[in-house]
C-alpha cells in the first residue's frame, strides 16, 4: 500500500520541472541566446583541442595554423600579423593557437569547480532546510565561516597548502563556491518544505532521504542552476587570477591566466601577449553572465540575490503561497521575458559588440 502510494508520489510531479519550463522560455531572451552562442563557441574550441591534443597529437592544429607548444626563439614577441593574428609570446609561440588550447583549461576548471560547489551546496542547503533545528544551525554557521574569508584569499592559501596544480584548483574553487549554492538551495527548500506534495510524500511514508532528494531538491533546483551559470564566470575569472598570481595552473599547460601573467612582464614591449588572453576570459565570462542573466530574468529575479542572514520572510511566504501554475503569470509580468513585445531584441547583441571595443 505505502509503496504504491510512494510510486504515485514519485511520478506524478515529474512533469512540473521548472528547469524544463525555463529552458523553453530561453528563446525569448536575446541576451541568453548570445550568451549561449558564446559558450557554444567555447565548447567547440575546447572539444576540438581536447581531441586534437590527446588523440591526434596536435596534428590538426599544426596543420591548420601552428603547434601551440612549438617554440621559435628568433620570432619571439612578434606583433600581430597575417602569420600570427594575435602575435607570439616570449618563446615565439603563436598566441592564437594557445588561446584555443587554453579554452579547454578554462572550461574544465569552470565545470568541475562549479560541479563540486553545486553538489556540495545542494546537499548542505537541502539537508539544512529539511532537517532544521540544530542541524540547520550548525551547517549554516559552518557555511558562514567559509563565507567570511574572501574567496581569493582562501583559494590562495589552499593552493599554497596543497601545491599549484589543476586538480587543486578545482577543489579550491569548488570549496570556495559552496556557501552561495547552499544558501540558495536552503531558501528554496525552506519554501518547498511545507508544500502539499511534500506533505503527501511524508504521509505516503517515503523515507526522508527520498523526500529530500526526489521531491524537494528537484523542485527547488532551478535557482541553483542560475547560480551555477552566473558563478561559472566568476570561477573562471578567479582561477585565472590564481594562475596570474602564480598559484594556479603551471606551465606548459596553456592557460589564459598564466598567459596573462607572462604578458605582464612584457606589457610595454608586447601588449598583445596580455591583451588577447584577457579578452578571451572577458568574452567567455560575458557569455556565461549573459546566459545566467537571461535565465534569472526568466525566473524570479530575487531568488539569486545573495541573501544573507535576513532571509526575506515576505518573499518566502509569497513563494510558498504561489501555486506552480501561477508562475507563468508572474514571469510574464517580469522584466526578463518582455523582449517578446520588444522588437529591438537583436540590437542588444550589436550594442554589446560595440561596447566592448
Amino acid at each position: 500500500m505505502s509503496s504504491e502510494q510512494g510510486r504515485i508520489a514519485d511520478t506524478s510531479f515529474e512533469t512540473e520541472s521548472t528547469v524544463v519550463v525555463t529552458l523553453k522560455k530561453l528563446k525569448y531572451s536575446p541576451t541568453s541566446l548570445v550568451g549561449l552562442f558564446l559558450i557554444g563557441a567555447l565548447v567547440v574550441m575546447a572539444v576540438f583541442s581536447t581531441i586534437d591534443n590527446f588523440l591526434l597529437d596536435r596534428a590538426v592544429i599544426t596543420w591548420l595554423h601552428a603547434d601551440p607548444h612549438a617554440m621559435n626563439q628568433p620570432n619571439r614577441y612578434a606583433a600581430p600579423s597575417m602569420d600570427h593574428p594575435m602575435g607570439t609570446d616570449q618563446y615565439g609561440r603563436d598566441i592564437l593557437v594557445r588561446i584555443i588550447y587554453g579554452s579547454r583549461t578554462a572550461l574544465t576548471i569552470g565545470i568541475v569547480a562549479v560541479g563540486i560547489s553545486f553538489v556540495g551546496g545542494v546537499v548542505i542547503g537541502g539537508v539544512s532546510a529539511y532537517f532544521g533545528g540544530y542541524v540547520d544551525d550548525a551547517l549554516m554557521r559552518a557555511i558562514e565561516v567559509l563565507y567570511a574569508i574572501p574567496g581569493l584569499i582562501l583559494a590562495m592559501i589552499f593552493m599554497a597548502i596543497f601545491g599549484p596544480s589543476l586538480y587543486n584548483l578545482f577543489l579550491a574553487y569548488g570549496i570556495v563556491g559552496i556557501p552561495a549554492y547552499a544558501r540558495v538551495m536552503r531558501s528554496e527548500a525552506l519554501s518547498i518544505r511545507d508544500r502539499q506534495y511534500v506533505e503527501a510524500a511524508k504521509l505516503a511514508g517515503l523515507p526522508r532521504r527520498t523526500i529530500l532528494f526526489r521531491e524537494i531538491v528537484p523542485n527547488g533546483i532551478a535557482p541553483v542552476v542560475v547560480q551555477a551559470t552566473l558563478s561559472m564566470g566568476s570561477v573562471i575569472i578567479g582561477a585565472a587570477a590564481l594562475s596570474f598570481l602564480g598559484f594556479g595552473v603551471q606551465p606548459p599547460t596553456p592557460d589564459w591566466g598564466r598567459m596573462l601573467s607572462d604578458g605582464r612582464t612584457a606589457l610595454l614591449i608586447a601588449w598583445w601577449v596580455a591583451f588577447f588572453p584577457g579578452m578571451m576570459i572577458f568574452i567567455t565570462v560575458m557569455g556565461f553572465n549573459m546566459l545566467g542573466d537571461g535565465l534569472r530574468d526568466i525566473m524570479d529575479p530575487k531568488t539569486t540575490v545573495e541573501s544573507v542572514e535576513t532571509d526575506d520572510i515576505e518573499l518566502e511566504a509569497l513563494r510558498a503561497d504561489e501555486p506552480p501554475g501561477e508562475t507563468d503569470a508572474f514571469d510574464d509580468a517580469h522584466d526578463g521575458s518582455p523582449t517578446r513585445a520588444d522588437g529591438s531584441g537583436a540590437g542588444t547583441a550589436d550594442e554589446q559588440g560595440g561596447d566592448r571595443s
Binding site: 541576451t31 554557521r141 567559509l146 574569508i149 574567496g151 598570481l245 605582464r264 550594442e351
Partner: protein, 316 residues
C-alpha cells in the same frame, strides 16, 4: 522585537562564526608547508637557536595546547610575529592598513553614486535602448577580469598616453596631488566590477519598486515622474542595496590583493601575497583573520542598518 534585542541577537550569532574562523585559520596555519624555524633562522640553523625558538613559540607542544595558546594570545590582541619582517604581525598590519583602507574607501565612494545613478536611469527607461545599453555595460563590468583591466590601463593610460604614473603609492596626507594621480587607476580597476554589480542590483530593485501600487497612486495624483523616481521609489529600492554593500567587502578584499600587487601599493593585500609566497604564515593567518573579521563587522553593520530602517527585518 526592539532594536536593542536585535543587535544583541546578531552579536550573539557572530560569536560561533568568529570562533569557527579562528579555528579554521589555525588549521590552515598548521597545514601550510614550510618549517617556520628555517624561515626564521635560515636553512642551516644551529641546534641551540632552533631549540630555543621552538620552545619559545611552543612548537613542541601538542596541537591542542598550541590551539589554546593561540586563542589566549588572540584574546590579548597578539597575532604573533612575522618571521621575515621580524616584528609583531599586528604592528606590521597597522603600517600597511592605510593604503588598503584608502583604496577600498575610494572604491565605494566612486562605485556607489555611479551605480545608483546608472541603475535608476536603466529602470526609468526600462526596456528601451538606454536600459539595454546600461544592462550590457553592467554585464561587461562584472565580466571584466580586474587584473586584465589593470594591465590594459597601465599600458594605455600610463605608457601610451603618459597621462598618469604607472604604479606606486604615496599617502594622500603627504602629497595629495601625486597620491591622487597614483590612485586613479587602482581605484578604477577595483570599482569597475563593484559598480557594475551595484548598478544591476539598483536597476532590478527599482524596476520592482516602480511596479508597486503606491507608485501608481503617486502617479495618479499627478506627482512629476522625477519626483516619483527619486523621492518615492528610490528610497525603497535602495534598501536591498544595503546588504550588498556589506557583502561586497569580501569581493573588494580579494580585489585588493590583485590590485595592490599590480600597482605596487604597499597595502595589506600585497603584504598577504608577499607573505604567502615566502610562507610567513603568521602574517598570512593574521591578515586572513583580520579580513574575515572586517567582513563580519561589515555585514553586521549593514544588517543592523537595514533592520533599523526596515523594522520588518527584525522579526524572522
Amino acid at each position: 522585537m526592539g532594536m536593542g534585542r536585535y543587535v544583541l541577537r546578531r552579536l550573539v550569532q557572530i560569536v560561533p562564526v568568529l570562533f569557527g574562523v579562528i579555528t579554521l585559520t589555525f588549521v590552515l596555519m598548521h597545514a601550510l608547508p614550510g618549517d617556520p624555524v628555517k624561515i626564521y633562522l635560515g636553512l642551516e640553523p644551529s641546534q641551540e637557536l632552533a631549540d630555543e625558538l621552538i620552545e619559545h613559540y611552543g612548537f613542541d607542544q601538542p596541537l591542542y595546547v598550541q590551539y589554546v595558546d593561540h586563542l589566549t594570545r588572540l584574546l590579548q590582541g597578539d597575532l604573533g610575529r612575522s618571521f621575515t619582517h621580524r616584528q609583531p604581525v599586528s604592528s606590521l598590519m597597522l603600517e600597511r592598513m592605510g593604503p588598503t583602507v584608502t583604496l577600498m574607501g575610494l572604491s565605494y565612494l566612486v562605485a556607489l553614486p555611479t551605480a545608483i545613478a546608472l541603475g535608476v536611469y536603466g529602470a526609468a527607461r526600462h526596456n528601451r535602448a538606454g536600459d539595454h545599453a546600461s544592462r550590457i555595460v553592467g554585464l561587461a563590468g562584472i565580466s571584466t577580469p580586474n587584473f586584465w583591466l589593470a594591465l590594459m590601463l597601465i599600458y594605455v593610460v600610463a605608457y601610451e598616453f603618459q597621462l598618469l604614473p604607472a604604479s606606486g603609492y604615496v599617502s594622500p596626507l603627504e602629497n595629495p596631488v601625486q597620491s591622487a594621480k597614483l590612485l586613479v587607476m587602482p581605484v578604477a580597476t577595483l570599482a569597475t566590477a563593484q559598480m557594475a554589480l551595484l548598478m544591476r542590483m539598483t536597476r532590478s530593485s527599482m524596476i520592482e519598486e516602480l511596479r508597486a501600487d503606491y507608485i501608481e497612486t503617486a502617479r495618479a495624483y499627478g506627482i512629476p515622474e522625477r519626483r516619483v523616481l527619486y523621492r518615492h521609489s528610490l528610497r525603497n529600492a535602495l534598501l536591498p542595496l544595503i546588504t550588498i554593500v556589506g557583502l561586497q567587502l569580501s569581493f573588494l578584499l580579494s580585489g585588493s590583493v590583485i590590485v595592490e600587487e599590480i600597482f605596487a601599493i604597499p597595502g595589506m593585500g600585497r603584504l598577504f601575497f608577499d607573505s604567502l609566497v615566502v610562507l610567513d604564515y603568521s602574517v598570512v593567518i593574521g591578515i586572513t583573520l583580520f579580513f574575515a573579521v572586517l567582513f563580519l563587522i561589515g555585514v553586521l553593520l549593514t544588517d543592523l542598518a537595514y533592520a533599523y530602517i526596515d523594522p520588518r527585518i527584525r522579526y524572522d
